[in-house]
């Protein structure tokens, strides 16, 4: 009940949001919005439009007059000019009369009559305004106002009598079940209260007309006070009662009883109700309180500023409302008064004046009573601040002031650095930031004073300083632009300032790159332009070197490795940064090699030569960088982190070149040994970046382990394994992931040696591993679980590497891996959660031995217990496909369609079902972050469906069957490609290659097959997933496709494809909507993941991601 009343009365009191119920909701909302934003003219225009709209019924058009009257009333209220206000009130009155005369029996007519009283009240207020505009002339305006108020009083009295009678007709007790009657009584009561309130307000306004008869004024005000008191007494629990209390406070204030007034205001401001109605009341109360505090007899200006600031900050929504503007106005006045304190420093006074000016400027933007006053205040403040040139402030004076303020910036910065107490530091920081704002304003002001005759050097020096302040304030773009201008256009006339400015410009854009969310290519380009300017004009300057190094690092981070090397190459040999730059350059070349390894397939000779060249450069620059850096070192404690990184990467390069001795030497020898450094106790906790980070330390020990294995140092190897174990704090998942990865590295090494036909080295490496692992295996009883994993994985790596060229040896190593895994499983201390992954590795070992049947049976046994593990299902489909590769073609079909017949109750999904399930999850969890890895698995499964078909076709004897299967594969790829966007480069290449093979199978006589037409997104997308190098062939492929499309055969193909596309789109649409709105409508995708399709296994995929093996990109 209470809430109901509160809202109802609030509805009545906040007139500005009040529109006729008769208008449609949309129109009401729209008109309210216009009014709230002060667009009264637009609201009127809209009403006119509605009136001339034939679709609006005549009954509603009548209401528009009433609405119009109320808007005009609001417009009049906000009009700062009395004469205009009068005109608007006349119009409002006419509209109101029109409505009343045309709608005698309208439900709103009584309300409209009461509105007439409010109109008269406004007439009276307009007269007050005239009085304030013509302060010399005395009584006439007050007399006029009194006339209106008496008329209004007559209306309000009548309204009060009527509403009192209406209300008193109701009995005191109404049965709770008689809701209708109760509602009627509530409405009557509400009208009665409003009438009392209107009357009280009218009396209060009347008191103001006796400005020149204080005795009479006091008497009438007393009467108003009593009325308000009565209302408050009876209705203190409803908002109107609180409003009445507020006016009581105002009466105290008018009687100069400020303490009492402030007491009332405080009481209302601490009212616990936080409803919108009370909050709005409190805004008004605060305004009255501020007026009180700003009064000279109280002169509590600082409190005014603080209270106003707090309110404006906590209620940003009131900023543009009348009350918000008035609060700001009071703050502006208080700030101005604060500035008048002669005891303050001039700079502090100016600071208050500037803040006041800020407020005045903001107020001047909004229409209303304060606009004219704020413009006047702005003028006054401008003069005081000397912003008006006529006031005589010259550029040179402002220039000196600016310099002085900038000196303070430096001293405040130093004070922050010196401060060792947190709270003191924060206070100083706040001071610093406040001063920075002031300095910025001062500098901007100084620039505004410049003219044709201003000294060029001084002007640009101020521009440079301003750009520095922008930089300190985090306004990077502004800093970059301003400093860049000085740097570019004054390089000849003012070379020193131009150099400093160019430096600031580059640094600012670099910071913009760092903090940019998402695509930062623009920022990088700006930074590069700024740096290029430095390189061009000051190629040997220290700043240039610093910036070139920073740009190189940014580009390296963005994986633009070769571009990064160009920037590093700008650093001269006599620069302090030379060693660093050489190391960075080596790192970038090496990263380019690794990137090319992981992204490019089927490299031609030119590309291979180029990569070899990068390898050589990486080695050369890293070795050089290490040498230069070591020369400058005095003791190990000062060892720069990049030196450790460099040594580790160089060691990795030597391992790739099978130069294990040198690899080990790089880590252990030199003036300062990397091993010694890494064996130092790391900081606790480990840092997130740098050599002592968990990630890098793991990477380092992996490299070291590889060196010890290659040089047959068993004890040291075991020691390193222990280090890795300790690093993972016994987390077996992490350790296993490291060793699985190391096995893969060995596999890659062997494959590389085979590809390069380095038979001697291949034998050497096999022999070396064999001896090492045999020796190690003999000690298995004393070894840790994790070390055994390493042995097994290394055997497996060897087996995989030799699979193609030496199947017998591969089978032998796979057998050894299998035996080792068996030995592991025999142990008691194998963590339960790791058993599954070990069993899966056993399946892989059996597969490696071409023992498909046994491998498959083992896998089915695992699937039986874990039917929804996606990775197990992928493993099963892969196994079936590889089985098919061995010559049993039917297994390809099982790999696609799945297998539920081999063993009862065990279902193998096959690639087709895997793809479908993943697609469903991706659609449903749109925007979910885990989509990335799923997306990858989806592409993989789609690829294997077509790949299996192609391989199956190859093994078929009948040409017709073969063609049919290939056509199916072709269509599958085409449809998939045309619907795919954001595909990764490597997958595009794989699909392109498969598509070419399928086409070749379909028509081997065709020399140039039609290229695969990828979804438009890929050709035009600038997404980072598709590199420039890859986009061009795709784009040209599209161009070719257009050319091919002219021949009839292609046209038919296109039409068929188009038909399929439409069909798929329609089906997808229905599928999507079915999934979105069907049975599982209410289910969140995450729930579906939890029970239905599959669970994510805890084994390799996740760990592989976590360890980021071979991480040469790790940079300081």
């Amino acid at each position: 009940m209470k809430r109901y009343r509160l809202n109802l009365l609030f509805f009545l009191l906040v007139i500005s949001c009040f529109t006729s119920e008769a208008l449609s909701n949309n129109e009401t909302e729209f008109i309210n919005r216009l009014k709230q934003n002060g667009y009264y003219e637009l609201a009127l225009h809209h009403l006119d439009k509605l009136k001339s709209d034939n679709r609006v019924p005549a009954s509603l058009k009548n209401n528009l007059d009433y609405e119009r009257a109320k808007i005009l009333l609001e417009l009049a209220r906000s009009s700062p000019v009395a004469s205009k206000q009068r005109k608007m009130l006349d119009e409002a009155g006419a509209a109101l009369d029109l409505f009343i005369s045309n709608n005698r029996n309208h439900p709103l007519s009584a309300e409209a009559s009461s509105e007439k009283g409010r109109l008269l009240l406004e007439y009276a207020r307009a007269e007050f305004k005239k009085q304030s505009e013509n302060s010399d002339s005395k009584t006439p305006f007050y007399e006029e106002a009194r006339k209106y108020l008496k008329e209004a009083m007559f209306i309000f009295d009548q309204s009060l009598n009527l509403n009192e009678k209406e209300f008193k007709k109701f009995e005191i007790y109404i049965d709770a079940d008689d809701k209708k009657k109760r509602a009627e009584r509530d409405k009557a009561e509400q009208r009665y209260i409003t009438a009392q309130y209107n009357q009280a307000i009218c009396i209060y306004e009347l008191s103001k007309t006796y400005e020149f008869d204080k005795t009479e004024q006091k008497k009438i005000r007393k009467k108003a006070f009593n009325k308000f008191k009565d209302i408050h007494l009876h209705y203190r629990k409803v908002v109107v009662g609180l409003y009445a209390r507020m006016w009581q406070g105002k009466c105290y204030e008018d009687d100069n009883e400020y303490k009492k007034a402030l007491g009332v205001y405080e009481e209302l401001l601490s009212h616990p109700d936080n409803s919108l109605a009370v909050t709005n009341l409190q805004h008004q109360v605060l305004l009255f309180e501020l007026i009180c505090l700003n009064n000279k007899s109280l002169a509590q200006y600082q409190r005014t500023v603080d209270d106003a600031t707090r309110r404006l900050k906590s209620h940003p929504d009131i900023e543009k409302t009348n009350v918000g503007i008035s609060i700001r106005w009071q703050r502006a006045l208080a700030l101005k008064s604060l500035a008048e304190n002669k005891e303050l420093k001039e700079s502090k006074q100016d600071s208050f004046l500037r803040q006041s000016l800020d407020d005045a400027q903001q107020i001047s933007q909004y229409p209303g009573t304060h606009r004219t006053k704020s413009v006047k205040l702005m003028d006054e403040l401008n003069k005081k601040l000397g912003y008006n040139k006529k006031a005589g402030k010259s550029f040179s004076t402002a220039y000196s002031d600016s310099k002085e303020m900038l000196d303070q910036v430096t001293s405040l910065q130093q004070a922050i650095e010196k401060s060792d107490n947190i709270s003191d530091r924060q206070t100083k920081k706040r001071e610093f930031l406040a001063h920075l704002v002031e300095t910025r304003k001062q500098l901007e002001f100084t620039i505004s004073l410049a003219d044709e005759e201003t000294n060029n050097s001084k002007l640009n020096s101020i521009r440079y300083l301003l750009s520095y302040v922008y930089y300190l304030s985090g306004q990077n773009e502004k800093a970059g632009v301003l400093a860049g201008f000085v740097g570019r256009f004054y390089k000849k006339q003012l070379p020193d300032i131009a150099l400093d400015s160019s430096y600031i410009s580059a640094v600012s854009f670099l910071r913009a790159c760092e903090i940019s969310n998402g695509d930062n290519s623009s920022e990088i380009r700006w930074a590069e332009n700024a740096a290029a300017h430095l390189v061009e004009n000051w190629p040997e300057n220290k700043y240039t070197m610093e910036i070139a190094l920073a740009i190189g690092n940014v580009l390296h981070k963005e994986k633009q490795y070769l571009e990064a090397t160009e920037w590093f190459s700008h650093i001269h040999s006599d620069s302090d940064y030379f060693g660093k730059a050489q190391i960075s350059m080596g790192q970038s070349f090496w990263s380019a090699v690794l990137k090319s390894d992981s992204t490019q397939y089927n490299k031609n000779q030119i590309e291979i030569d180029q990569i070899n060249e990068w390898k050589k450069k990486a080695e050369r620059y890293l070795a050089n960088g290490i040498q230069i850096t070591e020369k400058k070192l005095i003791n190990i404690a000062d060892m720069p982190e990049n030196l450790i990184v460099a040594k580790t990467i160089l060691s990795q390069i030597y391992i790739r070149n099978q130069n294990y001795e040198k690899a080990l030497e790089t880590l252990s020898e030199g003036t300062y040994s990397a091993i010694d450094y890494m064996n130092q106790t790391p900081p606790d906790p480990r840092p997130k970046n740098g050599p002592h980070s968990q990630e890098f330390t793991s990477y380092f020990y992996q490299i070291l382990l590889r060196c010890y294995v290659a040089t047959q140092q068993i004890d040291r190897s075991l020691n390193v394994m222990n280090q890795l174990d300790a690093l993972a704090s016994g987390n077996q998942d992490d350790i296993s992931a490291i060793y699985v990865n190391l096995g893969k590295v060995i596999q890659k090494e062997i494959e590389q040696l085979i590809a390069e036909k380095k038979t001697t080295q291949l034998i050497e490496i096999q022999d070396s591993f064999d001896r090492f692992l045999t020796e190690l295996y003999q000690r298995r009883d004393n070894m840790k679980y994790s070390s055994l994993i390493w042995i097994a994985e290394t055997y497996f790596g060897l087996a995989s590497g030799l699979k193609k060229t030496d199947p017998d040896k591969s089978a032998l190593y796979a057998g050894k891996a299998l035996t080792t895994y068996e030995a592991i499983l025999e142990r008691d201390n194998v963590p339960e959660k790791n058993i599954l992954s070990i069993k899966l590795r056993q399946v892989k070992c059996l597969k490696q031995q071409d023992n498909f049947d046994k491998s498959y049976q083992s896998l089915l046994a695992i699937i039986k217990d874990n039917p929804n593990y996606l990775d197990l299902q992928i493993e099963a489909a892969t196994l079936l496909e590889e089985w098919g590769d061995s010559g049993i073609k039917e297994k390809f079909l099982l790999a696609i369609k799945g297998d539920s017949a081999s063993q009862k109750n065990i279902e193998v999904w096959g690639w087709g079902n895997i793809a479908k399930r993943i697609q469903r999850i991706i659609i449903e969890s749109d925007g979910n972050s885990q989509n990335d890895s799923l997306q990858e698995k989806y592409w993989n499964s789609r690829y294997h469906i077509s790949s299996c078909r192609w391989k199956y076709a190859a093994q078929l004897d009948q040409i017709k069957d073969k063609q049919q299967m290939l056509q199916l594969a072709q269509k599958e790829i085409e449809v998939f490609a045309s619907l795919s966007d954001q595909m990764k480069e490597e997958w595009i290449q794989k699909f392109n290659s498969l598509y070419a093979n399928v086409q070749k199978g379909l028509n081997s006589r065709l020399k140039n097959q039609a290229p695969l037409n990828w979804g438009e997104m890929i050709a035009t997308n600038s997404s980072k997933t598709t590199s420039e190098s890859n986009k061009q062939p795709v784009a040209s492929a599209n161009a070719k496709a257009k050319a091919v499309s002219r021949d009839p055969e292609t046209q038919i193909k296109k039409s068929t494809l188009f038909g399929i596309l439409i069909l798929i789109s329609v089906l997808s649409y229905f599928l999507y909507h079915y999934l979105k709105t069907g049975k599982k409508k209410s289910r969140h995708p995450i729930h579906q993941l939890r029970d239905k399709p599959f669970k994510q296994p805890s084994v390799p995929a996740k760990r592989r991601r976590a360890t980021k093996p071979g991480k040469p990109e790790t940079r300081k």
Binding site: Q362, S364, Q365, D451, E452, E477, V481, L482, R488, S522
Partner: protein
């Protein structure tokens, strides 16, 4: 004896100084564009192509100064406040200068014909400068310049008035008048003036939609300044070329042209740079590169903000573009700045 000698020497020095001051006060001072040193003497002849100055040193032959090299003339016996008014004009206080020029014009007698004519030009010029910022002065400026050129066909300011007039017609978007005035400018004996006419003509073509022909004309002018790309006319033509390319949606070429212009422009050429950065902003907007467009408009906001019209536009686009790239606060700061600094701006209505 020594005293007598000293007295004689001092008297001679004093007399010499008085004499010199007298002669200085009785002369006209001519300030040239090409050299910083002023020329002192009596202007004996004025034509639309040159003025003739008789030096104060009697035996010196008269100096002929081409009209296109004259920056200012400080007339013999002109009121001292005219110096302050010229300074006000240089400092962009056009309103103040205009009121002052008119006042001085009303005070001087008809006998001071040269000064009166020059003042009528100054009044027309300062009105045209006001018109550059505020179109309400445009018709006034045109009328004053037309009047000047008709009444003073042999004045050394004649061609300068034609160039200003052409700019005003450009602003009014009146291609017919631009062509007419351009033809008159083409009769000037100096290349830079003639080229200025050609440039305005090309702009007129561009404004009528004939970007191809305008481009051709601009390129011809640029070619003539091949060896001197930093020349004002060359840079203006390059700017014109970039505008044509933008109109023809040849974005890459336009960008290259703008960069070429910026490589050669002088920071003193504020109007040229302002226009260039505005165009750069437009270019990047057309290419859907909001961040780069922001940078272009920031240059106007931070450096060339005295050009009100350009500044209003830049603030508007900054408000729009910052919002586009997700910086709501920066956007609203710029719209607030636009509203408070230029409450009458036409761009405000476009904000919502």
């Amino acid at each position: 004896m020594k005293f007598i000698r000293l007295t004689i020497v001092t008297s001679i020095f004093v007399l010499f100084t008085i004499n010199m001051n007298l002669s200085v006060n009785a002369a006209d001072f001519i300030y040239r564009k090409s050299v910083s040193r002023r020329i002192t003497g009596t202007i004996t002849d004025i034509s639309k192509t040159e003025i003739v100055v008789q030096s104060t040193a009697k035996n010196k032959p008269p100096t002929h100064i081409p009209a296109n090299d004259i920056k200012e003339i400080k007339w013999n016996s002109e009121p001292p406040e005219l110096t302050l008014l010229r300074s006000a004009e240089r400092k962009n206080s056009f309103e103040k200068a205009l009121v002052g020029y008119k006042k001085v014009y009303g005070q001087i007698g008809s006998s001071q014909k040269n000064l009166r004519n020059d003042l009528s030009f100054l009044i027309a010029r300062v009105t045209s400068q006001l018109a550059a910022d505020d179109e309400k002065h445009l018709e006034d400026a045109i009328a004053l310049l037309e009047k000047f050129r008709k009444l003073n066909p042999n004045h050394f300011r004649y061609y300068e008035s034609l160039i200003l007039l052409n700019k005003m017609y450009q602003k009014k978007n009146d291609p017919e008048q631009i062509r007419r005035i351009s033809e008159l400018i083409a009769t000037a004996p100096w290349k830079d003036f003639r080229d200025s006419g050609k440039i305005e003509k090309a702009y007129a073509l561009l404004s009528t939609g004939d970007a191809d022909q305008a481009l051709e004309l601009f390129e011809k002018i640029i070619l003539e300044y091949n060896k001197n790309p930093e020349n004002d006319q060359a840079l203006k033509a390059i700017l014109g070329k970039a505008k044509c390319l933008l109109k023809l949606e040849e974005f890459q070429k336009a960008e290259k042209t703008i960069n070429h212009l910026l490589d050669h422009a002088n920071p003193v050429s504020k109007q040229l740079l302002t226009e260039t950065f505005l165009m750069q902003g437009e270019l990047y907007r057309s290419q859907k590169l909001p961040k780069d467009a922001i940078l272009a408009y920031l240059r106007i906001d931070l450096i060339f903000n005295k050009d009100k019209k350009a500044h209003e536009e830049a603030l508007y686009w900054l408000a729009v573009l910052w919002k586009q790239v997700g910086h709501e606060t920066r956007s609203s700061k710029n719209s607030e700045k636009l509203k408070s600094k230029y409450p009458e701006s036409k761009w405000i209505s476009k904000l919502n």
